[in-house]
Symmetry: C2
Subunit: 424 residues, 2 copies
């Protein structure tokens, strides 16, 4: 008997009909001889509705109370799902994050999981029950206050519970058939990736593939918990995210390209005319770090000998743009840079694949494909298993399609799927 | 500095505007120098909406899961109320029943409070915070499952918390100005009762006055916790429910009539032709007790010497009627009664007042007032401080008005109030 942890997002439980469909899938998994633990998000728009309610009584609600409010969402969906399962003749019990032993720090709205102590889940499983657990929420270690985990929180709850319970697999259900070699809305010939390593999935997630959150993949890698990303609308195999040692071919020294990801959610800031002295870059990025701004790519131009000044460009979430400009302007006199340039019309295109660093041909072919598409490259950044370029936002689709074709990722068959974002 | 526990029902927090108004009242109480603990129900129709959702996924949802679902209602209202208070510049923290230490038995949907251990509330009060507590809910002692308290649960939560915290008063806010000498919809000249004893309030509640639940008054009496029933729409004094020793005149040997209550929610069953043998009545009522049916009034006619048979009539909630008939029909052969008669067109009119037992004139005047109104009495039952009669349902209004007048309860001024039922 295997132990399967399943996670269903908000769109999978958006109304009574979908809840009943999910209940049937869960019961089928149970009937196949598995112990089942289900992590569930709030129904459809519940979270947005609750946030609207909060805004009506307070422009800036305290984090503790906002978390108390929002966690009502999963409480509703999990209880309804447990009822729907009971109605199919199987015992199901729902548990809040706190009851399931999801212990977090005290950072309301973006809490981090510190520990998972699922004693009540183990007991309920031992008594033959299907367990339904609220995603996205936990209880803070010190104050015992209710917390929410922030973006990607439900996926992370599922992986963390799976790891703590030593489950055989963590299945993440979504509205697409798995992870694809590119966004099928841009590249209709994109193929489903049957197996991908944690590292490549991390790079995919960091490069804009919205199917799994970085945070949940990081957790899965740390505990070596296999994730199976699949559609809640079919029973097809999806994409397995596993240790690289379990992927055929990975042990051999060849470059295996997983896919092409893109991201339109970033902006670029250029700090123009920075004096080329030791410590200037450090003071820029420590100011941004103090403002809690996450920087992605950084490029520093070679200093012009004539002026002794250089330009530093970096990308960041477009939503952090204003805060970053404010933080930097405060430093203007101390650092003595000349000006700031802000560009939110950029896009990032990334090629992900194991072993590309030792195969220079990969980089050359990637740049060639982008040039062939007539697209200009503004910034470049590379890792062991990824190359990313920043291009004009309007050129993203062409660049993705061209790179996808160049690496022979196009399939013969066009799969009818639509890429969607993950909820929470 | 006094400690005040306030309870607001669902209609008092039905939308953002009302929540803000309640927040202002709470802050005013705080500014007057009091520590404040607030017990709150779910907003307006939230509970009904959640029950509708449950019905959509399961015709007979398990009690544990229904409780998990319904408790989302108070979670939403209490978090919003805490936010609204914070927005007025005062610290407020919300607590679930479980966090507030409301320990219950495991009877889902109708749990009874076993203990209240409000350690977290005490700590938060000590830190200067206003505490908002979810009414109607608790956590079961053994299984640590979330429970709901059933009808009157929020009032009972408030009184129980007030008692455990040794509060100075438990204020129950409602949509009327207090407890009246009769339902003002029937008797426009009814007066607000300024002070009433626990015992009389119990009889009023048991006799159909919907303003406070039996259960919460019983709890208050046991712990001698003063209740102040008042309107959430005004700052007028309402009705104080206190120990009889604190009511002027009660120590003297005179009959003080508090009011006239009525109840249209009962039905009458007559078991016709019961053999007049020892134990027959006992077996009838033990069968009803096993079916968990609450009996109110019981009348056994004098046995007719010619037949050796008697009729036994009793009243019960009309909603239990079918279950009672089924339970009795199962006994028909064993007991050998002749037939059952069911009448749901009855009403109960009760006169409540201390000391009436030792003043036979009270009973005579009450019956006289009902006779004067041309109303026939079908059943009679009395207690130390109450006389109840069953009459035809259509005669209830006339009987109430006539009795109210006979005991000089009519005021010169008509108060513009509307009697409403309490929520949960």
């Amino acid at each position: 008997m295997a132990l399967v942890v399943q996670k269903y997002g908000g769109s999978s439980v958006a109304d009574a009909e979908r809840i009943k469909a999910v209940a049937q899938r869960i019961v089928a998994t149970r009937k196949a001889g598995n112990d089942v633990v289900v992590v569930v998000s709030a129904m459809g728009d519940t979270t947005d509705d609750l946030i609207d309610k909060a805004k009506q009584v307070s422009p800036l609600p305290p984090g503790r109370e906002l978390d108390m409010l929002l966690t009502a969402g999963e409480r509703i969906s999990m209880a309804l799902l447990a009822m729907a399962i009971s109605n199919l003749g199987h015992e199901a019990r729902s548990f809040t994050g706190s009851q399931a032993g999801v212990i977090t720090d005290g950072a309301h709205g973006k809490a981090k999981i510190i520990d998972v102590t699922p004693g009540r889940i183990r007991t309920a499983l031992g008594e033959g029950s299907i367990c339904i657990v609220a995603g996205f929420q936990g209880v803070s270690q010190g104050t015992k206050d209710i917390t929410t985990l922030g973006r990607g929180g439900s996926d992370t709850t599922a992986v963390a519970l799976a790891a703590a319970l030593d489950a055989d697999v963590c299945e993440i259900y979504t509205d697409v058939d798995g992870v694809f070699t590119a966004d099928p809305r841009i590249v209709p010939a994109a193929r489903r990736i049957p197996r991908i390593s944690y590292e490549e999935m991390l790079e995919m997630a960091a490069s804009g593939a919205k199917i799994l959150h970085l945070r949940c993949v990081e957790y899965a890698r740390r505990y070596n918990m296999p994730i199976h990303v699949r559609s809640s609308f079919s029973t097809k195999e999806g994409t397995w995210v596993v240790d690289s040692s379990e992927i055929e071919g990975h042990e051999m020294e060849q470059a295996i390209i997983s896919g092409v990801a893109h991201d339109r959610s970033e902006a670029k800031i250029t700090v123009v005319g920075v004096p080329d002295k030791v410590g200037e870059a450090a003071s820029i990025f420590s100011a941004l770090s103090e403002a809690e701004i996450n920087i992605d790519m950084i490029v520093q131009n070679v200093s012009a000998a004539s002026t002794g000044r250089t330009d530093i460009s970096f990308t960041l979430p477009v939503t952090d743009g204003q805060a970053a400009l404010t933080a930097l302007n405060k430093l203007k006199d101390r650092i003595g840079f000349e000006s700031l340039r802000f560009d939110d019309r950029i896009g990032k295109v990334s090629l992900i694949g194991a072993g590309m660093r030792s195969h220079p041909g990969v980089t050359a072919k990637f740049f060639g494909a982008i040039a062939d598409a007539g697209v200009n490259i503004e910034m470049i950044s590379t890792s062991e298993i990824r190359i990313s370029v920043v291009v004009a936002q309007d050129d993203v689709d062409t660049a993705v399609a061209s790179a996808h074709r160049a690496f022979d990722l196009d399939s013969d068959q066009i799969e009818a799927v639509v890429y969607g974002g993950t909820g929470r």
